[in-house]
């Protein structure tokens, strides 16, 4: 493959879009990068997935640097769910060869459609307008030994306390996210954020930040596999990753100003688009 400067510039732009969206709603951006690379640049699907995985790690690191610093990420929650996600990832990788890709694509698309609808509905059917109340001032924190904490919403300046519920349910969905990750080579954030927001009743901005933090870990094991098989091309990954960093840093700022309802709706649209893509063209990744 030969990448001329205009192509490199276009890759940076693709990365900016992916990073911006990723940091905004807590996904890795893989859902933008993979189709973008295949359709826009004619990449081989495995190289596209490998490049996307590197980009996902870039989103995770860039957005993570901001959100963790802000105290918006609940790392205890993230790590707890990561157990299920990485196990799901292994299962996905092992299953990828035994289940027909078409069946997988349909099942995953259905799951995404359902999740999209649930997000639009928000918690308790209030259309996502359940803004959390909080008191002014204070700092983000995590509670020792528990899945609870507080974060300062930049939009209101209020410190909002929360406690995660339904760890088992949340872990099940996180496991599905890992499964999807193992099959599609994405970070799985598009299922983790709803898991935390809808099932575990964690504020959506914390869910997004926590998801951002963990998708890098999820993507890591898949990246190792793709690298071992020679699908990682640093010259392709570099411009996308650099674009992602820029986009993610802007995205974290935008998220500060957005309402939880808006974030849910943006994520719902992303899920819808991914579901449609899956139904049209199948998973496309190896297996």
């Amino acid at each position: 493959m030969d990448l001329v400067p205009p192509a490199l510039a276009a890759l940076v732009l693709l990365g900016v879009i992916a990073g911006l969206l990723g940091a905004l709603v807590g996904i890795g951006g893989g859902v933008v990068v993979v189709p973008g690379l295949i359709v826009g640049f004619g990449f081989d699907v495995r190289v596209a997935v490998a490049t996307s995985l590197v980009a996902v790690i870039a989103t995770s690191t860039a957005a993570g640097a901001v959100y963790v610093g802000r105290g918006q990420t609940n790392m205890r929650l993230g790590m707890t769910l990561e157990i299920a996600t990485t196990l799901g990832g292994i299962t996905g990788g092992l299953l990828a060869t035994s289940i027909p890709p078409e069946a997988l694509a349909v099942m995953l698309a259905l799951l995404l459609l359902v999740t999209s609808g649930l997000l639009v509905r928000g918690r308790d059917g209030h259309g996502g307008t359940d803004e959390q109340r909080g008191v002014a001032g204070g700092q983000g924190y995590e509670v020792h030994g528990e899945l609870a904490g507080g974060f300062v919403d930049p939009r209101t300046g209020a410190l909002i306390d929360y406690r995660a519920e339904g760890v088992v349910g949340g872990s099940l969905v996180a496991g599905l996210a890992g499964l999807a990750s193992g099959l599609l080579g994405v970070g799985g954030g598009f299922l983790k954020v709803p898991a935390m927001d809808l099932v575990m009743r964690v504020p959506v901005k914390v869910a997004a930040a926590t998801s951002n933090f963990m998708i890098g870990v999820t993507a890591l094991s898949s990246t190792a596999v793709y690298a071992a098989r020679g699908y990682v091309l640093p010259l392709a990954a570099a411009p996308v990753a650099l674009g992602v960093v820029g986009g993610a840093l802007v995205g974290t700022r935008l998220q500060g100003r957005a309402s939880p309802a808006l974030l849910r709706r943006v994520l719902a649209v992303v899920l819808l688009i991914v579901a449609v893509q899956l139904l049209i063209s199948g998973p496309g990744a190896d297996g």
Partner: protein, 114 residues
């Protein structure tokens, strides 16, 4: 919530630091490698070979490989830093969670590399 219920947030600053350093290092290497490749008009995109394979000979490619490796290492380092800070805070429940994740990750890499 009473202040007494709040956890020490030492882990937060350490992890944020790790992420920032990783980001700067990886971005710097990737940008430098990219600029070099463009300046030399070299559009070739060789695949990354895992260690202990030798680094590419051309400096631009070498920097790109190092940048990607630095980037990809950050998730692992962040988990280690986090587990370390939890251990320091004596939050053993989550130290255990972190260790389980590391084990499953190692398993995933081992299974995948075959």
């Amino acid at each position: 919530m009473a202040d007494a219920d709040r956890a020490a947030s030492g882990g937060r600053s350490l992890v944020a630091f790790v992420l920032r350093v990783g980001l700067l290092l990886a971005s710097g290497l990737l940008a430098a490698g990219l600029v070099l490749k463009v300046l030399r008009g070299d559009g070739s995109a060789p695949a990354l070979a895992l260690p202990p394979a030798a680094l590419p000979a051309a400096l631009g490619d070498r920097l790109l490989v190092l940048g990607v490796e630095a980037l990809v290492a950050t998730p692992l380092v962040r988990v280690l830093a986090l587990v370390g800070s939890w251990a320091r805070e004596r939050d053993w429940r989550f130290v255990a969670v972190g260790v389980v994740v590391l084990v499953v990750l190692a398993l995933a890499i081992a299974l995948g590399g075959g």
